[in-house]
C-alpha cells in the first residue's frame, strides 16, 4: 500500500467501535499525516511489541456530512459497507482507501490495480451480497401483538442495511429484527426506527399470534409442492441457499 508517510511498525490506534469514531480517528490521522500500523476496536489486546497510541481526536457530530462533501456519496457508501464487514483489516482498508482518494480523486474507484481499492470493492460486494440474500431469506413471525419478529445470524453487520429495506417495505407495521450473534436489535415502532442492545430490551415471554402456525404450515406446503421431482437438484439448491441460511428458514425445518 502506497504512501510516503513515516511509518513505525508498532503503532496501534484504537477507536470506539462505531462508524463515527472510526471516521473521526482516520480523519485525525490523515490530517496529521500519521500512517498507522493497525487500527483496532477498543477491546484489542496488543502484542508485546505493539504500542497503543492515544491521540486526541476531535469529535464532530457532523463528520458524516463533512466527509460526504469531501469524498462523495458513492465512496462513503463503499466505506460504510466495508465497515459493516467482518474482515480483520477493514479499518486499514478504509484508511488507505481515503488516503488514496486525495491522489486519484473520483477516478479512485476504477483503480482496481491498487490493493486498497480491489480489497474495498471486494469486501463491499461481499457485504452487499449477504445483505441481498437476507432480504430474501429473513423470516418474520407474527406475535400476539401483531408485531413481526425475525432473527438473523449474518456474518457481517448488515442489520442497518436490512432495517432500511424493511422500513420502506413494511412501513405500516411494527417489527423487530434481532441479530443473534451480535445481540443487537432493529426496532421499528410507530413508523420510527431504533437500534438497541440486549440490555435495553425485554423480549421474554413473546407469544405468537394464533394464525402464525397455519400460515407457516401453508408456506411449508407451498414450498414442498413447488419443486418439480423430475428436476430435483440438491447441488444447485445448495449453491444458492447454503446450509448456513437454513437455521431460520421455516420451509427447511424438516430437512435441517
Amino acid at each position: 500500500m502506497e504512501n510516503n508517510y513515516p511509518y513505525l511498525t508498532n503503532q496501534v490506534y484504537i477507536y470506539d467501535n462505531d462508524f463515527i469514531s472510526l471516521l473521526s480517528l482516520i480523519k485525525t490521522l490523515l490530517k496529521n499525516k500519521i500512517r498507522p500500523y493497525k487500527i483496532e476496536g477498543k477491546e484489542y489486546n496488543p502484542s508485546l511489541f505493539e504500542n497503543i497510541i492515544n491521540i486526541k481526536v476531535e469529535n464532530n457530530s457532523n463528520i458524516l456530512r463533512e466527509l460526504k462533501n469531501i469524498f462523495g456519496k458513492e465512496n462513503m457508501q463503499i466505506i460504510y459497507y466495508v465497515y459493516s464487514s467482518c474482515e480483520n483489516n477493514k479499518e486499514l482498508v478504509i484508511y488507505y482507501y481515503l488516503l488514496n482518494y486525495f491522489k486519484f480523486k473520483d477516478n479512485l474507484i476504477r483503480m482496481r490495480n491498487l490493493r486498497c481499492v480491489s480489497e474495498a470493492l471486494r469486501i463491499k460486494e461481499k457485504v452487499a451480497r449477504e445483505a441481498h440474500k437476507f432480504k430474501g431469506f429473513l423470516r418474520f413471525k407474527e406475535l400476539k401483538s401483531e408485531s413481526l419478529y425475525a432473527e438473523i445470524n449474518p456474518d457481517n453487520d448488515i442489520l442497518f442495511i436490512l432495517a432500511k429495506h424493511f422500513q420502506k417495505r413494511l412501513k405500516e407495521f411494527n417489527w423487530v429484527i434481532k441479530d443473534v450473534n451480535r445481540k443487537t436489535y432493529a426496532i421499528y415502532f410507530s413508523q420510527k426506527l431504533y437500534f438497541a442492545n440486549e440490555e435495553k430490551i425485554n423480549l421474554k415471554n413473546v407469544e405468537f399470534s394464533k394464525e402464525e402456525e397455519s400460515y407457516e404450515d401453508m408456506w411449508k406446503e407451498f414450498y414442498n409442492i413447488i419443486g418439480i421431482t423430475l428436476r430435483k437438484n440438491d447441488r444447485c439448491r445448495m449453491n444458492f441457499m447454503p446450509k448456513k441460511y437454513w437455521q431460520y428458514l421455516i420451509e427447511m425445518e424438516d430437512e435441517r
Binding site: 476504477r110 482496481r112 490495480n113 406446503e221 440438491d234 447441488r235
Partner: protein, 402 residues
C-alpha cells in the same frame, strides 16, 4: 374444501411455469409493500429454482385440452378454485412474513376467457385497492379475452404476459388444438404498445416448452430473437418438457431435457447482453447446440482465427465475445484501462475467469500459454474437462437469470 387443500392443488398445477422473476419494477406507491428493481429470491425449491412469487392458479378447471398440460380437460384430476379473498389473504400473510415478493397469478380457463379474466381482475383489484398491496404482481393474460380487460389488468400489475408455449404453429395445432397463435400475439402486441410506468412497468415475458415438439434449437432461438424484437420482451423462459400425460402426439421421455434447456438459456443470455445474433451461433448445417461446450466457447472455437485479442486495446464488443469475460468484467476492463495497463493479475481482480479466457487473450502482447496451444482441439479438451468437473457450469450460469 379448506384453503390448505386449495393451495395444494393450485400450487401444484401452477409449478410448470418457469417464470418466477420479480424484477424490473420500482413500485413505491403501496401503503403496504414495494418492489425491488433487481428482484429478490426468497427461497430455492428442491429443484434449485428461485422462489420469488406465490405462484398459483386461480383455478385448475379448464375447458381446453392441451396435450402436455396436467390441467387439461380430459384429465381426471381434483379441481379447485380460489375466491379472490382467499388469494388476498395468502398473498398478504406470506408477504408480511417475508416469504415472497408478491403474486404470480395464472389460471385455467373456466367457462370462457372473458369470465376467467374477470375473476383475475377482481382478485387483483381487491389486493391493490382494498389491501393497498404494493408488492410485485405478475399476471398471465388469458388469450381470447377482451382488449378492455387487458387494459384494466395491465394497469394493476407489474408484469402481464402470455405464453407462446410451442415454437411453431404446426406444433401448436398438434399439441394445443384449442389455442391460436394470433390470440397470444395480440396480447403481446397490446402490452408492447401500451407499456409505460403505469401500465405493466416491468413489461412482459413469455415461455416456450422445450422438447415436447420437433423444433430444433435454431427454430427455437429464431422464435426468441423475433419475439424480443417484435414485442420488446424482458425475458423468454425455456421450460424443459416434463412428461405428465400420455398422448400419441407427445414424445416419450424419461427425463426432461435439462441440458438442452440450459444451453438455450445460455444462448438467450448471449442474445440479450453479449450482442450475439442467432445466426452467429447456429445455422442450417448446425441447427442444435453442442451439449458438451457452452455456446460462447463453441462460437470462439469456430472463430479461432480472430483470436487472441489484446485486452488493453480491443473493443468492448470484442471483449464480450471472449470466453471467461462477462459483462461486468468487460465494463471494468474498459474503464480501468484508461488509467493503467492491465496485466493478467489485474484481470483476475476484475472477475475474469482466466482458466477460460487465457486461450483467447494477450495482455500487453503476452500470451499466457505456449502459443502453439491455440488450437481448437486442445482448448476444447481442456475446457470440456473443466466443465465436466463442475457439471457444465449449470448452477453458476443460472444464478444470473433470476
Amino acid at each position: 374444501m379448506d384453503i390448505m387443500e386449495k393451495l395444494t392443488i393450485l400450487a401444484d398445477s401452477a409449478k410448470y411455469d418457469a417464470s418466477c422473476s420479480s424484477s424490473g419494477s420500482t413500485r413505491t406507491n403501496g401503503k403496504f409493500g414495494n418492489t425491488a428493481y433487481s428482484g429478490i429470491c426468497h427461497s430455492f425449491s428442491s429443484d434449485g429454482r428461485c422462489i420469488s412469487l406465490l405462484k398459483i392458479l386461480l383455478t385448475n378447471i379448464c375447458i381446453f385440452d392441451c396435450k402436455y398440460c396436467i390441467n387439461r380437460n380430459s384429465n381426471n384430476v381434483k379441481r379447485a378454485i380460489f375466491t379472490p379473498e382467499e388469494i388476498c389473504q395468502i398473498t398478504i400473510n406470506f408477504y408480511k412474513r417475508n416469504y415472497i415478493e408478491g403474486l404470480f397469478l395464472s389460471s385455467g380457463i373456466i367457462k370462457s376467457p372473458d369470465y376467467t379474466m374477470e375473476l383475475m381482475i377482481k382478485t387483483i383489484e381487491l389486493l391493490r385497492h382494498k389491501y393497498h398491496f404494493g408488492g410485485y404482481i405478475h399476471a398471465k393474460a388469458i388469450p381470447g379475452c377482451s382488449e378492455y380487460q387487458l387494459k384494466k389488468l395491465g394497469s394493476l400489475v407489474d408484469r402481464l404476459s402470455a405464453n407462446i408455449e410451442l415454437p411453431s404453429n404446426e406444433s401448436l395445432k398438434l399439441l394445443a388444438p384449442n389455442k391460436e397463435e394470433s390470440k397470444v400475439s395480440k396480447i403481446m402486441n397490446y402490452v408492447k404498445v401500451n407499456q409505460n410506468k403505469n401500465f405493466t412497468p416491468a413489461g412482459q415475458s413469455t415461455q416456450m416448452i422445450i422438447g415436447a415438439s420437433l423444433e430444433t434449437d435454431l427454430d427455437i432461438m429464431n422464435k426468441s430473437e423475433n419475439s424480443y424484437h417484435d414485442y420488446k420482451l424482458k425475458r423468454v423462459f425455456y421450460s424443459a418438457y416434463i412428461p405428465v400425460n400420455q398422448d400419441k402426439n407427445l414424445p416419450i421421455l424419461k427425463m426432461p431435457p435439462l441440458k438442452r434447456e440450459n444451453r438455450l438459456y445460455q444462448a438467450d443470455w448471449l442474445l440479450r447482453f453479449y450482442n450475439f445474433k442467432v445466426s452467429d451461433l447456429l445455422d442450417k448445417n448446425h441447427p442444435n447446440f453442442n451439449v458438451l461446450v457452452d455456446p460462447k466457447c463453441s462460437w470462439a472455437l469456430n472463430h479461432l482465427n480472430e483470436f487472441p485479442k489484446e485486452v488493453n486495446s480491443c473493443t468492448y464488443n470484442e471483449l464480450l465475445k471472449i470466453p471467461g469475460i462477462g459483462v461486468t468484467s468487460a465494463k471494468r476492463i474498459i474503464t480501468s484501462r484508461k488509467f493503467f495497463k492491465l496485466n493478467f493479475n489485474d484481470l483476475k481482480k476484475m472477475g475474469v475467469v482466466l482458466k477460460r479466457a487465457q486461450y483467447f487473450i494477450t495482455c500487453n502482447g503476452k500470451y499466457n500459454l505456449n502459443a502453439t496451444l491455440l488450437s481448437s482441439s486442445f482448448i476444447e479438451k481442456n475446457l470440456f474437462l473443466d466443465d465436466a468437473e463442475k457439471e457444465i457450469g449449470y448452477g453458476k450460469q443460472l444464478s444470473l437469470f433470476n
